[in-house]
């Protein structure tokens, strides 16, 4: 390979110039090792989050109140499986195997969004997850759709488009709950109270302490900061929840006239780290469920492998 003879700095300069021009980096192009490693970290964590993200909602498929709601929820959970697949694919283009990523998830080594380690206690949680959790995810994903790595940005465009359905079906449920009986209103308010703070944590650590932010920005992976996205989300949610007569579980929430922002109170980052590091209410259960699913699929993989062994490519006699 001739390019290994070139000085690394020349490559880096050209790489950064390409990013500056807004070009997409494609598999095969030269990229700094840190760029590759950061993308593998982000994309695989994102993929794991989609896969684990099926579980909190999947728990309610059998208890959906109507057939239509059940179809919608099944479709949403199927999408999440698909999104996990799109993302594992994008990570594979950077040289990591799907098997390595799955091993990391099943062994408990890999990180995924901490929000999925909280339990879903009522049907109203399904609406609130759709609106809040998927709404927060869309903010991040819409930004990542612009990112400099081609396969990741294309996966994100597909995912963002499909998440639009997730967010809207959830919002529609919350609107219906908010206009329902006092018992229904109380149920959806309770769900908001439980999901609000874990949702705000999804945007990541504050800009002042986020260690990856600078490089990610310079190389066009993240183009907007954690705090910027979080603020935009809070502004939109407070306005809409107020319109529906629902409240936000934050006694310090106040409106800043000058900046035209809703300023939220302090986020409990100790809780965030506790949950990320495995001590959340459902971490053990989520991992156990994934492992069980993998083990129970073993016979299917064995059957397929046996068939493939008996019928190598080109041997079909039909």
């Amino acid at each position: 390979m001739s390019e290994t003879n070139q000085p690394e700095t020349g490559n880096l300069q050209e790489f950064e110039a390409r990013i500056k021009r807004g070009e997409k980096v494609e598999p095969g192009d030269w990229m700094p090792d840190t760029y590759r490693q950061q993308l593998i970290r982000m994309i695989s964590q994102h993929a794991h989050s989609e896969i684990v993200g099926m579980l909190p909602e999947g728990a309610w498929i059998t208890r959906a109140p109507t057939l239509q709601r059940k179809l919608v929820l099944i479709a949403k959970v199927q999408d999440e499986a698909g999104h996990g697949q799109y993302l594992y694919h994008a990570a594979e283009t950077l040289g990591i195997s799907r098997e390595t990523m799955l091993d990391a998830l099943l062994s408990g080594q890999a990180k995924y969004a901490s929000v999925f380690n909280y339990p879903t206690l009522s049907w109203a949680d399904i609406g609130v997850i759709g609106w809040l959790v998927d709404g927060a995810a869309i903010k991040n994903q819409t930004m990542l759709a612009q990112c400099s790595y081609g396969p990741y940005s294309r996966a994100m465009v597909r995912i963002s488009a499909e998440e639009g359905f997730h967010m809207k079906q959830g919002k529609e449920m919350v609107i219906r709950y908010a206009q329902g009986t006092s018992k229904q209103k109380a149920q959806v308010q309770d769900a908001i109270n439980r999901w609000w703070w874990p949702t705000l944590m999804m945007f990541g650590l504050p800009d002042a302490v986020s260690k990856h932010s600078d490089t990610l920005k310079r190389w066009g992976i993240k183009t907007r900061s954690n705090d910027t996205l979080r603020q935009e989300f809070v502004n939109e949610m407070v306005a809409d929840l107020n319109t529906l007569g629902l409240s936000i579980p934050d006694p310090d929430l106040r409106y800043d006239q000058e900046m035209e922002n809703w300023i939220h109170g302090p986020i409990d980052w100790d809780e965030f780290w506790r949950v990320v590091n495995g001590a959340g209410p459902c971490n053990a259960e989520r991992l156990a469920t994934r492992r069980k699913a993998h083990e129970e699929g073993q016979w299917v993989r064995e059957a397929v492998a046996a068939y493939a062994h008996k019928h190598p490519p080109g041997s079909h006699d039909d």
């Binding site: 698909g82 799109y86 799955l102 099943l106 294309r154 639009g164 529609e172 609107i175 397929v304």
Partner: protein, 195 residues
């Protein structure tokens, strides 16, 4: 902990007749038949598909503009891209290109065919035959390795998705419902003010 993963297949999706097949990602499968089924499950959950192709990832010879520039001469035929027991008969290769560097929604898509004896010759032929200064990625693969969905598959594989309107965001009329909620809220405020 896991067992060995199956081979990767690149997936090409044609969303409607007249559009070209474009690369949407990959699936793992034990053979092309299951690769097509997996591709349908992963990439066709919405009413947007007319035809699917799957190609074993190892059968694709890919180069980016940067690699072509830096390698100058195309060296595929003395690398691992050279298939074992290559018969040197001329065969048909499919050519794929990605033509735009900047827009996110530009895919590696099918542009046509060339005849060649080796992947390297096919690539050289593709670059000449489909010369386009805006092209940034070139892929070639033998036409014989492509597995395609057929017209008979459309009804079972793709048509059911068209009936699932609830998968579309616009099905939920959110903007309308929020406007209604807002006018109810404002209406209530008016009544309170009047009182």
């Amino acid at each position: 902990m896991t067992d060995s993963q199956w081979p990767r297949f690149e997936v090409f999706l044609q969303d409607r007749e007249g559009h070209s097949h474009r690369n949407v990602g990959t699936v793992h499968a034990s053979d092309s038949e299951l690769a097509l089924q997996n591709a349908r499950d992963v990439f066709v959950r919405r009413p947007s598909c007319q035809s699917l192709w799957v190609v074993p990832a190892t059968a694709i010879y890919a180069l980016t503009k940067q690699e072509i520039r830096e390698n100058a001469g195309l060296s595929a035929d003395d690398s691992e891209q050279q298939p074992k027991n290559a018969d040197l008969d001329v065969k048909s290769y499919l050519v794929f290109q990605k033509r735009n560097q900047r827009r996110t929604m530009s895919y590696v898509e099918y542009v046509g065919r060339v005849d060649a004896a080796t992947p390297g010759q096919a690539m050289a032929g593709a670059i000449t035959a489909f010369d386009d200064p805006s092209s940034t990625v070139w892929w070639v693969c033998p036409a014989s390795v492509v597995a395609r969905s057929t017209v008979d598959d459309v009804e079972s594989m793709f048509t059911p998705a068209t009936e699932k309107a609830y998968r579309m965001p616009q099905h939920y009329r959110i903007i309308q419902q929020m406007l209604e909620a807002k006018s109810r809220l404002l209406g209530k405020a008016d009544i309170e003010q009047d009182a």
